[in-house]
Structures are given as structure tokens and as C-alpha cells.
Symmetry: D2
């Protein structure tokens, strides 16, 4: 089943285009999206895995036809959230409600579509000091935790700390601690409409986090969990049924 | 404590202004908001309970000063959701994240501020056929269920049925069934930011539901639960703390 | 993957042995467990699907070796809960915490292992009056709801009604209404330790519910969701790690 | 209201009796229960606050009459869980289902009544190395978080770390990190039957944690949240209502 998944890795791609930080080309020669896609290919060699960036086209590579053919969309953004057009945000939102999986990564917590889906500010505490991050599993029965070490040790990362202003998640799978003592709900799921959403915080542009085998495993698990390939893609709508409509043959 | 609560009952007030349905003046001579406010006064005789409608002023009676002085806002709307200005919606949303309680009633499921807070379509099934509604308590330990009969019997109501497209609530307190067999999660809570939200579905403009003593009890409990009168009203914000900031005296 | 699942359908088998009700042999000639197993075989033709009843042996067919080789255990019981030995209850409990899937059916709400896993009385309201049950989906994004009609119409069933004294479930998937107006949280999931638990209420011994194609679909989905075939079966245990143990190679 | 609360602080009292550790008399001259009770008295000066220990009497000070007159029971235990009689465990369990509040502290995670209410092993990782604990608020809208600093800084504590084998809590309010990098869900709520349960982990016998003003604040908030003084104390029970019973006057 999973080998036929249609996965789209979206990255704003602005850090790469600006060569900022200057070593980004060293750690991500194919872009952050390229590294994420490579990790997923190692798990699902026959899946259709494509990538797109903000500058792809007027629709940022996220037009109606593309989304209709996408089972799971991964989203990485940071400094260009405001450049994503509202029309694209509305479209992605609608597809999530209709059943498209969405995996939001790291600074994507401020992506317009994420705050629109969650309804909160999604604000947090942050500090870029190259701190060790430990990612602890707290829900081992969840499919996204399958085969994942606890803790995952990430030698250097940007710190993301509480208060993370999100609604109570459906499932809290991972909690991170940082060398400075802060904690963060780093792996959380939500459902909105028919769609499944997974937010996973590790992955700053300054550190080679997406090459970490355990991080790749989490993302592969996340894609498998979020995908609903056979589902008719349609957001819930108002209905006005007559009495006993369910008895009609 | 609760006698000092500052409660604002907001109603679009359009059905009343239009005398539609024609008997609305008979069942709600002081408007839907008037009936709700009267019910709350019987529970909290010393509270500051005020009302406002869409036509109150340019801000619909919901300007910055008013919201800053409101512990809990109750919201009834139906045919005029689109007439609520986006600026007011943004303001109410910000106050909820900052800790203002919000109680959304019946057809308020489609209020702009509710869908903005929840992130889903909030669509549902409906049928106006004067069906008996039974409201069953499923979380008796919740403060909103305190002293409430299970079931509450409402002789005639509009049917609201599943699928109700909302996120998983923090707490599911009431489930309704209707004479036609449909069910509905009729009493649910959410938290967003520092704010507490209660959605309660009974209360159509055609039926005298807000005069029902048990419905009044639920709303009184809801107000008490949602209020945080001592809280500094400020939505969560991004911070960038230095290491060990918490050790500073 | 799913064709290799190891599924055990357990039924106390006492109604069948006693021929009570007298038509049970007509609706369930191979026992309730036989009907459930047949339904699962139609979905997973290559799975290892076995059955056991209370009288199978001293261990009720649930010895250590059997459970160790079981991915998902389905449990139907009613009038003989007290005859299940405490040793077997402890063993099943331990296997669930270690990752074995458990699907508890209908009057299994009072099975010793279910109340032990949940910690509550699991009491409810009931009435055997052959009422129509409607099973409504309220979480369409859940794997157990995949492809399931909403509502499922069951022409005649025993009524189970709220208050169902269970902890808040991880996921509420189905809510039922009955002709008499009662409602019931009829499809709920829990996790305990590493194990996944699904409770599904339709299925009284007096009515041929397990032949209903939609009910069979729900059970097939439940088995697939609850199974973790690759997981090392071990319940969580206390550990006393030294500092920085996670840095050891 | 809260000044009339009836609060019972229960402590096994074995560490104190054994003078183990040898400095326990210095940090807790009135016992751990005495310190907890003193903290609560500063918040609720007119409440009836009593204490009991394992050796109080044959019922450990927890007979039927006492529990019937208790709104909230706080529980501290560690090395003598097995000495608590099963009859007392059953009684406390029944009172919780009937609506008595229960606050379980620190090593009380292994109290018989706690594992019975939760259904899991409640196992965890631990290390007694005098590590700094930081207690972070992750649900600021919860009554138990009212007025609490985030983080609470505890200079020295025993480390409790994940995996904490508990069911998904109703609300996750606090997450702790420790100097060694481990994290722990240190403040969680559950409901069982009509009862409200709060588990809060800080408070080892070796460190003067219960004198910490912020810890006292959390416990005071917890008591207020868990108490239901007006509730009829009766656990949910099976009922067998006739059709339309709710229409009877």
C-alpha cells in the first residue's frame, strides 16, 4: 500500500536561495525538501515523492490538480510565511478538511495554514544556541512512535520551548527537552474535518537534523499515519436531510 | 465571586427586528438575549450582565473597552454572521486567546469567530421539524453538568445532527438525540490560548428553549466555568529568552 | 501485512451451550465467535483466525503461549464474567499493556479485564426491547471509520444507554441512538501501556448483529487498527537509569 | 465556599517513623502530611483539614464515615503501598467514583488505588541524584495553573522520567525537565466515575519540596478543582429503565 503513496514535500526554499546561513548548501545541497524527500524514498521506494518550493509558480506548486493528487503534504516554512498567497492557504485548508494528510515541520508552526487549522497563535519560546535536544516518546502505542528510539538525541538544535500555544492535541507522542532546561511538545497530532495533521518540531535550517536516521523514521511513520489514499476527497458540508432518510434504499 | 462577574450576552438581533418567525415576539418579548440575560440574573443577581446586538453601533457593541471589561461573552447568531465585521472578529478572537470566556449558542456554530477558533467548517446536519430533543449528560464530573438533569427534555427543537465538523473537544459533556433518530454532540468545551470556550446547541429562534429552567442552569454553569475574572488579559506571544533566564531574581 | 495477522476470537460460549435464547442456534449456528470469525475471514483470508470459549480448558484457551502468539484478541462475554479466572485476567491485562490489541464487544463492558484496564465501573443503562439502533460516525478521520456508513442501521438491538461509566476515551468514533431516545458512546478507543483497545457495543445474543455487513466492516477495521504485529511484547517497567545513559554507544 | 472544604491529607508516615532519611525530621518536623496540611491552611483557613497515616488504626484512618465526610483526599505513599489493605483500597476507589476528589502525590503513582483507577502499571524511570527540576505550565487555562509560575524551579529533586505508563490524561497541565535531560508529565488530571483526580509528581521525602510556595499553590489549586462539596456521593450504577421513563412527572 505505502509504496503507492503520493507525497509532496513543500519547502519555502528561501534560506537555500539566499544561501543563509552560509553553510546551508553544505548540509542541504538539495535543499531541506531534498533531504526530507530522500529520507522518505528510503522507506517508500515506489511512492511518488515530489517537491515544490514557494517560487515554483504562481501557485507555489500547490494548485488544485496537484493537491487532488497528493495523499500527504509536508510543509517547511520560516521567513516567507507571509508570501504564501491566501488563495493557496484556503485551498490547502480545504484539502486537509477533505482528507489530505498534512505534516508541519519546525518553524512551520507559524505557517498560515497551520494557524488557520488550529485557531490559536501557535506562538512559542525560542533560542538559537545549538543546544542538545532529547526527543522522548510518551505514547509508545501510537503508529508514529513505532520503532523510534526514546530519546532521540539531536546534538545541536534550535530550542523551542513552552508555552506552545496550540489546542490540546489529539495525541501527544513526543516531548523534547533542551540543554537549557526548556521542554516542548515536539510531536503532536490533530484531526480537522477528515484530515490528519502531524506537527513535528525538530529541523532548523542551521543543523543537519533531517539526515538523522531517527528523524527520518519519525517522518516516514508520520506519512504512513496521515495518508488516506482511498478516501473520497471532500470536506464535510451542511446537509438538510428529511426524517428517516437513512431508511431509503 | 460569581456575583461580581461581568457577562455580556450578544445576539445578532435580526430575527427579532424582522419579526421572523412571527411569534418570536411572543416567546422572546425582550429578544433572545433578554431571555438569556434574565436566566443568568436569577443565578448571579449581583453580576454585571449586559446585552448587545449587531445594530448597537459600528462595533456591534464589541469595542476594545467593552471586551476588556467582559469575563464571559455569550454569542447567538444565525442569519447575519456575514455582517459581523472582520475587525470585530479579530478582536473577539484575541480576547479569547487572552482569557475571555466564550459561550457559543445554537446556530452560532457558523459564527466567524467560532470557525476561526476551531479551524474546521463547523458544518452539521439540520432539520426544522419541531422534534423532541433529549440532552444526555456523559461527563457528570464536569462543572457544567453540576445539578443538571439527564436527560433534559426539550419538547420541540430544530434538529442538529452529526457529522458536526469540529475538532475533538477538550470535554464532551452532553450528547443529544432527536425524535428522528439523529444524535449531536450538543455540549462541548475547547480551550484556545488562555481562553475557555463552551458550545451548547439547544436554542432555536422558533422555540422557547431559553426559558427552560434546565437550559438556564447549563448556561449559568457554563458562565461560571468559563470565567477567569482575575486573569491578566493577554494572548500568548513569542518569546526569545536567554539561557537560565528563570534563575534571575 | 494484514493477511498474516493472528486473531483470536474469544466468547464465553455459555448462551450457546445453554441454548438460551432458544433461537440462538438459528442465528449463530457456529456460535457468536464463529460468526465474528467468519466476518473477519472475509476481510483477511490469509490471517490466522482462531476461536476459544470459556470451557476450552483450564485457561479458557488463553494460556501464555496462546496470548504470546496473538496480535488481537476479541472478547465477547455476558453471564459468565465471574467464571473467568483471575490468573487469566492478569495475563490478558499484562499482554495488553505489552502491546496485544483488545477488542471488547457488547456486554463485555463488564468483563473483569475491561474494568481492570479502565478503572471505572463500566456500568450503563440497558433495556431489551428490540429497538432500532442507529450508529453514527463522529470521527470520520479514524481508521476504524474507514468505509463505514453513517448511520449503520440495526433493525433490532438491546438498548445500551448513558451514563456509560468509562474514562474519557482516546477517540470517540461512534455514537448510537435507540428508538426509545437513549444515546450511547458505542465505539470508543483507549490505549493502556503499549496496547490498543477498542470497545464496540452492538452485538446482543438475541439479534443477528454480527452478520450485518457494516458491523463486520467495523470489526475488521478495529482489528487492523489494534494490531501491532512487529512489536516486542513487553509491558512498561520501572527503570533506574544513570545520568546520560542515552549517550552510551 | 472553599473555606468549608473538608480535606484529608493521608501519608503512609513510614519514612518519618523510621527516621529515614535521617534528616527527614529536620525538613518535615510534622511529617510530610503536616507540611502539606499547613500549606493548605494558608489558602483555606476555615477549611476542615485533617491528617491520617497508615498506623492510625485498622482502617488507616480511612473508614467509611471518614471518607463520606471528605471532599478531597491527598495521598502520599512510597515504601508501604502493600500494607494498605485491599478493603481500604476498594473503599477509596468507590468514593472516588462517587465524586470524592483525589490528589495523588509523587511516589503515590504506585499506590494500589491509583493503579486500580488508572488500569496501567504507572511505572516510570527514576534517579535520586538531587537534580534541579523545572515544572513548566502547558495548559495555562486550567484552574490548577492559576497564578502558578512557569517554570517552577525546584533546586533539588528526585528525577521521575518518561515513559510514565499512564492512560492519556484528561488534561496535561505541567511537564517537568530535570538537570539530566529527562522529562516527565508531572501534573495530569483524570476523571473516573464522578470523581476528579490530580496527580502531581514533585515531593520526595529527601527534599523540602512541600515548603515551596509555588508547590503549595499548585496543591491548593488542585484541592479547589477536585472538590465537589454539594454532590451526592454515589458511584454510577447499572439501570434498567423502561421506555420513556423520562416523561414521568
Amino acid at each position: 500500500m505505502n509504496d503507492k503513496l503520493r507525497i509532496l514535500v513543500w519547502n519555502e526554499g528561501v534560506h537555500e536561495a539566499n544561501n543563509e546561513p552560509s553553510h546551508i548548501g553544505d548540509i542541504y545541497p538539495d535543499g531541506i525538501h531534498g533531504a526530507i524527500a530522500a529520507g522518505l524514498r528510503s522507506y517508500y521506494p515506489e511512492a511518488e515523492i515530489t517537491t515544490a518550493v514557494l517560487a515554483t509558480d504562481d501557485e507555489h506548486g500547490l494548485d488544485e490538480e496537484v493537491l487532488a493528487e497528493t495523499d500527504v503534504l509536508l510543509w517547511w516554512g520560516h521567513i516567507a510565511h507571509h508570501e504564501v498567497s491566501d488563495a493557496v492557504v484556503e485551498r490547502v485548508h480545504r484539502h486537509v478538511l477533505g482528507g489530505m494528510g498534512l505534516i508541519v515541520l519546525h518553524s512551520g508552526h507559524f505557517a498560515k495554514v497551520f494557524t488557520k487549522l488550529l485557531g490559536t497563535s501557535c506562538s512559542l519560546a525560542w533560542r538559537n544556541d545549538g543546544e542538545r535536544e532529547l526527543v522522548w516518546t510518551v505514547k509508545p502505542s501510537h503508529p508514529i512512535a513505532e520503532g523510534v528510539d526514546s530519546p532521540i538525541v539531536i546534538p545541536e538544535q534550535e530550542m523551542y520551548g513552552e508555552l506552545f500555544d496550540i489546542p490540546d492535541p489529539d495525541d501527544l507522542i513526543f516531548i523534547s527537552s533542551f540543554a537549557g532546561g526548556e521542554v516542548f511538545r515536539s510531536g503532536v497530532t490533530f484531526t480537522r474535518g477528515k484530515g490528519r495533521i502531524f506537527y513535528f518540531s525538530p529541523g532548523d535550517q542551521e543543523y543537519p537534523v533531517y539526515h538523522h536516521p531517527q528523524i527520518q523514521r519519525v517522518l516516514a511513520n508520520g506519512v504512513k499515519w496521515a495518508a488516506q489514499p482511498g478516501l473520497h476527497r471532500a470536506a464535510p458540508e451542511v446537509t438538510n436531510p428529511s426524517r428517516n432518510w437513512f431508511d431509503q434504499p
